[in-house]
Every structure is written in C-alpha cells, then in structure tokens.
Amino acid sequence: MENLASASSTSLDNSSSDFAILDVRNISVSFGGVRPVQDVSFKISENSFTSVIGPNGAGKTSLFNLISGMNKVSAGEIIFRQQAIQAIHPHKIAQKGLIRTFQGAKIIKRLTVAENLMMAVQGNPGDNLSGFLRIRARRDFEAQARAEAMRRLDQVGLTKFADEYAGILSGGQRKLLDLSRALMAKPSLLLLDEPFAGVNPTLVEKLIMVLGELRKEKSMTFLLIEHDLETVMNISDRVIVMADGKIIADGLPGAIYENEVVIDAYLGSRRKEIK
C-alpha cells in the first residue's frame, strides 16, 4: 500500500483533529473461499472527511459491513472511540454513534417518509414499553422528532412527501431519504455508501454543502464510498483506494489522482474526466 498522506499532511491537519475516532487494525473476512476484505488497516481522524474508492468488487461495501457490525470480522480489530467493537451487535455500535447508509438505499416502504426519519432519533422514550405510560414525555419527544424530520426533509426537497408512504419515492429520492435518516440519528461517524448515486447534480451540490456544515457545527466525521470522482476529489480531505479486498493507496486527493498504481487499477482514462 502506498501511503501518500504524509506527503502533504498539513492539509489533513487543517481539516481534522489528530484523535482517531476509528482505528481499523488488520481486519479480514472470508465467506467460504471468498475473501472480500484482506488485512485492511487505517485510522480515521475525528471531524475528517475520508472517501473510499475502488472498482466494483474491491471490498468497499464489505468493509462498511464489517465496521458497522453487519458482518463479523474473521480476524483483526475495529476500535471506535477507543472501544473494540468488532464483536458487538450492530445496534449497539449504532447506539455508540456509528451510523451507516446502504448502497441500495434501504427505506421502509410501508412507513411514511416522516416516520422513516423519526425512527432514527435516538433516546426516544416511546421506543421502550416501559415508556408507554409516560404519555407527555412521549408526545413531546415525538413533536420534536417530527419538527427535526421536517427540517431534514426541507433540506433535501422531500417535504411534500412527508406523510406519503416511502414506497412511492423514486430511486434518487430514496437515496435522499436514506441519507437524511442517517443524519437524524446525529452520528459522530457516518458511513455513507454511494449516497449520491441517482441524485441530480444540483441536489448533490446542496447535500455536500449540508454535510460540510454538519462537519463544522456538529464535529461529525464522514467515511464515504463514492464512484463519482469529481465529488470525491472536491469533498474529501483523504482518499483510500481499495482493489481486490486490499488498500492499494491512501492519501490526499491530489496525490491519489497522480498515483500510478491507482491509475492502473481504477482511474484509467476516467482521470481525464476530472477537472
């Protein structure tokens, strides 16, 4: 693996703290004879924006599945906020503030758009049966959650669908809902799996702006999988490149763009398309 970050670490330090919110240590996973992730290690600084790129089948989504606990590692350690999380249940990982979105934009079709968002709010007293009799606390919390959901929907232009079943949304709108829902959970680290695929370019720009604001205001950290290289280069302060389950390069966007190994394995002629 080529570590290119050190070449211009000043730029990284400007945008993120030194504290590693996520420390992935030599993780591997195998399903039968297939090894989608092999001995992968990296650290993510708090308040940073890191992108993971690579060809299809490189192991990017598998990596997200391991970090979020959806699949368990065969070897290695994952440390999130100084706690090992590789062996704990995904819902407990999420409760610690590590939230993810899904490549295929998983939405709950038979909940309304607003309900999809409200479900993500953490600490709802109504989520526990013991809170059933705390009517006022539940009602107040729901009102706040609804207001927050409407704000999020306004950001992505879905307000008019708030009380419609989410199943009626188009593919791009589902992506927006998935992203908004993850933000509703107020994560400290958000894993975004191709959140902009199928979303119109104007809205992508707006979403990038929203993510930037969240990063500044809420000290949110982002780890993004994205195929649109222009977006990746514009938004990221660090890029990790994967191929065949391994990290083949890790560094600043500019350095990655010039890296021969990356050009051979992934960028190829697309490099010219990036301005």
């Binding site: 939405i107 709950i108 309900e115 989520d127 526990n128 079943y165």
Partner: protein, 326 residues
Amino acid sequence: MDAFVQPGFWVFVLALAGIYGIFALGLQIQYGVGGIMNFGHVGMMAVSGYTIAVLVIKYQWSFWWAAFVGVVLAALLGALLGLTTLRLSGDYFAIASIAFAEITRYWILNTDSVTGGTQGTLAIPNPLGFGGYTNQPDLILTWISDRLYPIVGDEASRDMSMIFIVWPFLFLFIWIASKLQQTSWARVLRATREDDDVPRSLGKNVFRFRLQTLVIGSVFGGIAGVFWALQFALLAPEDFLRIVTFYGWMILILAGATRVKGLIIASIFFGFLYGSTRFLEFWPLSLLSSPERAYLRVFLIGFVIVLLMLKRPQGLFGKRQEMVLE
C-alpha cells in the same frame, strides 16, 4: 332457518366472537405490527385454559388467581418460544410455532394424571370429587343473568352474561392495542416487518422488539384462553387443534392485518360462520351430519381466506396501497 331468528343463536355468535376477537388481537399485534407469523397461537390459549382447570380442580386455587397464573404462563411460554426460535426467518418460525403448539397439545393429551388426558378436564383427579372449575365466576355470570331477566325474560342466559363480560374486555384491549400501535415502539416494529438491517443500523435491538411483541400477543392468547375456559366450562385437547389458530388468522385477514379496529366486525363474521355450521340445520345443511358440518366450517374458512387473498388481500378495512408498495 329458524335458528337465524332465535336470539340464542346470535347470543352464542357474539359470545364466541368476543373470545376470538381477543385471540385474534394477539395475532394482530404479532403479525399486523411485527410481521411475526405465529401459527401456534392456540398453544397459549391451551396453556392458560388448562392452567385454570388444573389449579382450581386439583389444587383448589381461586379461579382468579388461577386465571392470572394461566396468563402469566402463556406469556412465559411466548417468551420461551421467542428465545428459542425467533431468530429463524419468517416461514421457518411459522413452522416452529406450529410444532410448539402441537407439543403443548400432545403434552396435555398424554399427561392424564394432571390434565385428564383424552377425557378432558372432567377427568382431572380431584380430592373433592368434583370436576368443575367455574364456580366462582359463575356467581358473577348468574348475577348478570338475574339483572338481565327483567329486561329480556327467558332469553337471559349464561352466554348472554358472557357477552357482558367478554365484550368490554375486547373493547378495552382494542383501545390499548390501538394506543400501543401509535407509539414509536410500534413504528420500529413495523420497520422490522420489512427489513431488519435498517432498524438495527439505527440502534434498535430488533430481537428485543420482536420478543416483546411475541409476549404481548401471547398474553392476549392467554386471556382468550381464560374466557374460552369460562365459556365452555370443560376443556379437552381437541379444543386446541391447529385449526383454531387459523380461525384467528381468518379473522385477522378479514379485518386487514394492520387495522386493529376491523377485528370487531371480522370476529362477529367468524362467530356467525362458526355458529351457523354448528347449529343451523336447514337445507342443504340438513343433508349433513353434525361432524360433517364441522368439516364444512373448515372448508368455508379456507374458502374465505383464499377469496380474500385473491380479491381483497388488504382485508375489509386495510389499505390496498400498503399491499402493493415495492
């Protein structure tokens, strides 16, 4: 056709509908909200009903305490069923739940010294030489009957008194269930009905939610068992055949699985179907013997379920849009 105009027929229909309404409410919470396909719900009814009979007859417990313990046991068995099998996906859980109910029934059938075995609760060994278990609640039923007599005359009956006990409970439970289904707890459950990964990735313990749903549904199954035991005052293993669970499913499908209030009309329809195949003897039913009419009931219930699936899968009160979203 005489039976149709007999008040006694409709009183029976309503009493039965009330009990099955509570029974189906348990399934509604489990399937309509949580997507859990429980085909062994009758097991909960059997457990609470038999618990009452055994504790009252064999150990001379108070009926009320025995009923309480019966419902608690049904809830515990629901928890046991969930802890052991709830990690199975939809269809596999359904199969496991049938097995669970059948194990319960076979245990009742083959434990003569405790349950009376094939002869039912009349054969439960009793130091007092008496096989009934409804003495205490019968006092209340008689009290209600006495109050009804001046109003309805000879039509005042035990069945009619049962209506005055069961239906207020049914309305109360439906009210509680509809309030429960407006909570964020139910919202998470409705999400788990479609996808486990989403709620899990948002910090929701899907297994806990499902287990709670199964237990709550089992409590309603257990309460239905209490009323069943009270209504018939005699229990036998064949009262708790697999088909009884599907009576509940028919009510649920007819009501629309996600619509709790539809259970009222659907359970009355079922009560009518059940009562008419039991008591009505006009042509062409007169061509059939009593056991044959019981089979006709099973046929009709199957027919109604298939018809609903084809023509109105959302049930009478459900939203069709929910069924077609992809």
